[in-house]
C-alpha cells in the first residue's frame, strides 16, 4: 500500500513537473514574443531580408514575401505578416513534438541565430535536437569565400541574351583546392523538361514558374556555359569575410527546396543573388534600385559600387579558345588541319612528320578542340569518339601542350549603361523635326561595344517621339517591343547564321505620307569579316505590316537587307541598303549611312543620312542626335 501511494505521488510530482515545464516554456515563448513586440523586432531589415519580404510601395506597413511556399512559413499568414511569422517562428523553436531534421531549429538555423542574438534566447532551454542533415551539409560546403560568376551574353536564347549570374562558394584556403569542385549556387526557374522556348518566355515573363535555388559542383556550370553554350565566364571574387559567407550559407540551407516567385525581368537569378548578399552583409542595400528590371550586368555594377568586388578573372569558352588556336596557326597549315579533321590519320603520315614538332603539336591540339566543339550537343558517335581518342594519343607524344592565352576583353560592367535617352534634330522631306527617345535596354550595333558582344544588338522597349518644328505637332515615331540582331561572321571553320527579329509600331512613308503602322519583321542570312574590325552582311527579310492604306489592312512583304558595319577609333559606322515589296504592290527602298561618335563611356553623338525611294516619291533624311546612357 505504501509503495503504491509512493508511486502515485511520484507520478503526480512528475506530471506536475512536466506540466510546469511546459507551462514555463510556453511562458518563456510568451516572454520572448513580448520582448520582440517591445523592440518591434519584425521591422528590422535583417528579419525582413531573411523572410524575403518586399515592402509595398502603396501601403505604409504592408509586406509580401517573394517566397511562394507554405513550407517556409510557420504562421498561416506568414507571407504577409512579418510580426505573425516571428511569433510563430519563436513558438516553433520550442515545440517538443518535432524531432531532428524536421524541427524548426534544424530547418531555420539563420532565423534562430538572429533571434538568439537579438532576444537573448537561452539556448539551454531549447529542445535538444540533432540536426544531422544540416551539420553534414554545412561541413561539406567549404564555404569560406564567395565569387560572383557571370556567364556572358549569348543571343541564341531569350534566357541567355542578358547573361546570367550565379554564386560560387570557395573554401577559405584555396591552396589545396580546385575551383571546379566548389559549390555553385544558382537560382533559376524550375521548368518542366517538356516546355519549349515560347512556353518558357511566356511563363518566365508572367511568373508562371516557381524559382528555386539549387547547388551543384561548379564544374557542371563550366561544362554548361563554357563548353555547351560556348559562353565566356567572368568570375568576380568578392571580399566577403568567412563570417559573412557563413551568414549567407546558413540562410541558403533555409531555402532548400523552397519555391520563390520567378519573373524573368525582375525577380530573377540576379535579383535573388543580391538578396543573398544583403543577408551576408547586413546594412548593404543592393536591391532597391531594381524595381522594373534586374539585368544581370546591372546587378554586377551594383555589387561593385557597394565595394564588394575584390578582383575579376576571365574564363574563355571552348569556342573562344578554339578560335584563338585557329588564328595562331600559320595559314598554310589550314589545309593540314582540314586533313586531320576530315580524314583518318595514319601514324606515319608524311605531311605531319615534315613539320617541326611545335607545329605538329599545335595542329593536333587545335584539331581536337574543333572536333569536340563540333560534337557539342550531339549524341556520342563511335567514329568521332575514335578520332578524338586518336588525336589525344597523338597529342600525348609531345612533352606538354598548353592552351593559348586569350586576352581578357573589356569587362561587361565597364561598358555603357543599360538605359539610353536620345535627343536631337533631323530634317526629312524638307521639314525640320526634333526628336526625343528612350530605350529601356540594352545595346545597338552602333553603340560602343566595349564590354558587349560585337554584333549582338538587343533593343527592348525602344521609343522615339518626334515634333515637327513648323506646326509643333508631336507624333510617336517608333515604339519597338524588341529589336534583336545577331550579326555573326562566318569563317572557314564557323558557319553561323545571322538573323534579325523586330516588332512594334513605327512611322513609315506609305501612300503619299508618313503614317503609323504595326509590324513584325525578321530576316536571316550571312555575315563575313571585312577588314579587322568590319562586318559585311546580307539578309533575306520578311515583314508583316498592318497599314490602314493597304487593301487588306495586313500585308506581308519580302525583301533584302545588305550592309556593313565598321568599328573605328571614333566609333561604329554602318551602311545599309534595304529593299522590300509588299504583296499589294507597294515597295520601299532605302540607303542609309549612320556614324556613331563615342564621346565618353555613357555619351555619344550619332549622325545619319538616308535616302528613300517609294512607289510614289523619293526623298532624303539627315539627322544628328545625342545619346546618354544611364
Amino acid at each position: 500500500m505504501r509503495s503504491f501511494l509512493f508511486l502515485i505521488s511520484l507520478l503526480a510530482v512528475m506530471t506536475l513537473a512536466t506540466a510546469r515545464a511546459v507551462a514555463m516554456d510556453n511562458d518563456y515563448v510568451a516572454i520572448l514574443q513580448g520582448d520582440a513586440a517591445d523592440k518591434a523586432l519584425w521591422e528590422r531589415h535583417e528579419w525582413l531580408n531573411l523572410l524575403h519580404y518586399q515592402r509595398s510601395r502603396f501601403a505604409e506597413n504592408s509586406f509580401t514575401s517573394s517566397v511562394d511556399d507554405p513550407q517556409f512559413f510557420f504562421s498561416a499568414n506568414g507571407k504577409t505578416s512579418p510580426r505573425n511569422e516571428m511569433n510563430a517562428t519563436l513558438a516553433a523553436f520550442f515545440k517538443e513534438q518535432d524531432t531532428g531534421n524536421e524541427h524548426a531549429i534544424c530547418r531555420f538555423p539563420a532565423r534562430l541565430n538572429w533571434l538568439v542574438a537579438h532576444l537573448g534566447i537561452d539556448r539551454q532551454r531549447l529542445p535538444a535536437v540533432e540536426c544531422s542533415d544540416y551539420a553534414e551539409w554545412r561541413e561539406r560546403v567549404h564555404a569560406g569565400s564567395a565569387t560572383l560568376i557571370f556567364p556572358t551574353y549569348q543571343l541564341n536564347s531569350p534566357s541567355s541574351m542578358f547573361g546570367h549570374t550565379l554564386l560560387r562558394l570557395d573554401p577559405v584556403d584555396k591552396d589545396n583546392w580546385s575551383d571546379w569542385l566548389s559549390y555553385a549556387v544558382n537560382f533559376g526557374a524550375n521548368i518542366s523538361n517538356d516546355d519549349n522556348s515560347l512556353t518558357y518566355v511566356w511563363n518566365g515573363l508572367t511568373g508562371g514558374y516557381p524559382g528555386q535555388f539549387i547547388v551543384m559542383p561548379y564544374f557542371r556550370k563550366i561544362q554548361e556555359y563554357n563548353r555547351i553554350e560556348k559562353r565566356d565566364i567572368w568570375e568576380y571574387r568578392l571580399n566577403l569575410t568567412p563570417e559573412e559567407v557563413g551568414l549567407l550559407t546558413t540562410h541558403l540551407w533555409e531555402l532548400k527546396d523552397i519555391n520563390f516567385d520567378y519573373y524573368f525581368f525582375t525577380e530573377n537569378c540576379s535579383y535573388r543573388l543580391l538578396e543573398l548578399l544583403e543577408i551576408a552583409r547586413p546594412g548593404v542595400e543592393l536591391t532597391d534600385e531594381f524595381v522594373v528590371t534586374a539585368i544581370p550586368v546591372d546587378t554586377v555594377r551594383a555589387i561593385e559600387r557597394a565595394g564588394m568586388v575584390d578582383k575579376a578573372s576571365y574564363r574563355p569558352s571552348q569556342e573562344t579558345i578554339a578560335k584563338k588556336m585557329i588564328r595562331e596557326l600559320p595559314e598554310e597549315d589550314y589545309d593540314r588541319l582540314d586533313r586531320v579533321l576530315d580524314q583518318p590519320i595514319a601514324d606515319d603520315d608524311r605531311i605531319f612528320q615534315s613539320l617541326p614538332a611545335e607545329r605538329q603539336k599545335a595542329l593536333f591540339n587545335t584539331a581536337y578542340k574543333l572536333l569536340r566543339l563540333r560534337q557539342n550537343r550531339k549524341q556520342r558517335d563511335p567514329l568521332v569518339a575514335r578520332k578524338s581518342h586518336q588525336l589525344l594519343t597523338l597529342l600525348n607524344h609531345y612533352p606538354q601542350a598548353g592552351l593559348p592565352d586569350v586576352q581578357e576583353p573589356v569587362r561587361p560592367e565597364s561598358g555603357h549603361h543599360s538605359k539610353r535617352v536620345t535627343f536631337g534634330a533631323l530634317r526629312r522631306r524638307g521639314k525640320a523635326y526634333s526628336e526625343l527617345g528612350f530605350r529601356m535596354a540594352f545595346h545597338s550595333l552602333e553603340d560602343d561595344d566595349a564590354g558587349y558582344l560585337r554584333g549582338a544588338q538587343i533593343n527592348i522597349a525602344n521609343f522615339i517621339v518626334r515634333r515637327k518644328s513648323s506646326s509643333g505637332s508631336i507624333v510617336l515615331q517608333q515604339a519597338d517591343f524588341a529589336d534583336i540582331f545577331s550579326l555573326t561572321p562566318r569563317s572557314r571553320y564557323f558557319n553561323p547564321i545571322s538573323w534579325r527579329v523586330r516588332g512594334g509600331l513605327e512611322r513609315v512613308f506609305s501612300d503619299g505620307d508618313d503614317r503609323t503602322v504595326g509590324h513584325i519583321s525578321g530576316g536571316g542570312g550571312f555575315a563575313w569579316q571585312a577588314l579587322e574590325d568590319g562586318t559585311a552582311y546580307t539578309l533575306l527579310t520578311g515583314r508583316l505590316e498592318t497599314n490602314s492604306t493597304f487593301t487588306h489592312r495586313i500585308e506581308p512583304a519580302l525583301g533584302v537587307s545588305v550592309g556593313g558595319t565598321y568599328s573605328g577609333r571614333i566609333g561604329t559606322g554602318r551602311v545599309e541598303f534595304n529593299g522590300e515589296k509588299f504583296t499589294g504592290g507597294e515597295y520601299r527602298l532605302n540607303l542609309s549611312f549612320t556614324q556613331n561618335m563615342v564621346i565618353a563611356r555613357d555619351h555619344a553623338l550619332q549622325f545619319h543620312f538616308k535616302r528613300e525611294w517609294h512607289t510614289d516619291d523619293n526623298f532624303g533624311e539627315v539627322g544628328l542626335v545625342y545619346h546618354y546612357f544611364f
Binding site: 541567355s160 571546379w180 569542385l181 551543384m216 557542371r220 563511335p382 581518342h389 589525344l392 594519343t393 612533352p399
Partner: protein, 160 residues
C-alpha cells in the same frame, strides 16, 4: 581520398558488387569516354534557361545519373562529386599534360600541392595505359590511375 580510390577499385574488381557499388546501380559509373551530351532538347532557341530541370540537387546527393551518397564514395569527406562526370576533360588534360580537370581530379584523390607536378607528369606519361581506347569506362580509368600511383614512389601514398 583513400576511401575514394578504394570504392572505385572495389567496384571495378567484380561485376557482382555492382548492386552495392558506390553511387548505386543506376549511377553513371560505366560511362565511356566522349559520351555525348544528349537529352538537352532541340529547341528552336538554345535550351538552357539558366534554371533547373530534371536533376534537381541541393548538394545532398550527387544528383545526376541517379547517383546516391549511400556508398563509400568520398573525397575529403564530400560524398557528392565524382570524377566520372569530367572524364572527357580529364582525358584531354592527361593527354596535354596540364589543365584544370587534371588538377580537380588530383584534389579529389587528395594529392598534396607539392606532388601535383609529379602527378600531372606521371599521368601524362601513362596516357595510353589509362585511356587505351575510346571505349574505356570511368571505373577502368580510375583503377588504372590507382595502379599507376601505386607504382610511383612519390604517389604511392595516395593509392589504395
Amino acid at each position: 581520398m583513400k576511401r575514394y580510390m578504394a570504392a572505385i577499385v572495389l567496384a571495378s574488381a567484380s561485376s557482382a558488387t555492382y548492386a552495392v557499388a558506390p553511387g548505386g546501380s543506376d549511377c553513371g559509373w560505366g560511362n565511356m569516354l566522349f559520351d555525348g551530351k544528349s537529352g538537352l532538347g532541340s529547341h528552336f532557341l538554345a535550351s538552357t534557361t539558366n534554371g533547373t530541370s530534371g536533376n534537381k540537387t541541393f548538394g545532398m546527393t550527387s544528383g545526376t545519373n541517379g547517383c546516391s551518397t549511400n556508398g563509400t564514395l568520398t573525397y575529403g569527406g564530400d560524398a557528392w562529386v565524382d570524377a566520372t562526370q569530367i572524364m572527357d576533360e580529364f582525358s584531354e588534360d592527361v593527354a596535354r599534360g596540364q589543365g584544370d580537370a587534371l588538377d580537380a581530379v588530383a584534389v579529389m584523390i587528395g594529392v598534396q600541392q607539392q606532388d601535383r607536378e609529379t602527378f600531372a607528369q606521371v599521368m601524362h606519361e601513362n596516357f595510353t595505359a589509362i585511356f587505351p581506347s575510346e571505349d574505356v569506362t570511368a571505373e577502368e580509368v580510375m583503377a588504372s590511375v590507382n595502379n599507376i600511383m601505386k607504382n610511383n614512389d612519390r604517389l604511392a601514398k595516395y593509392a589504395v
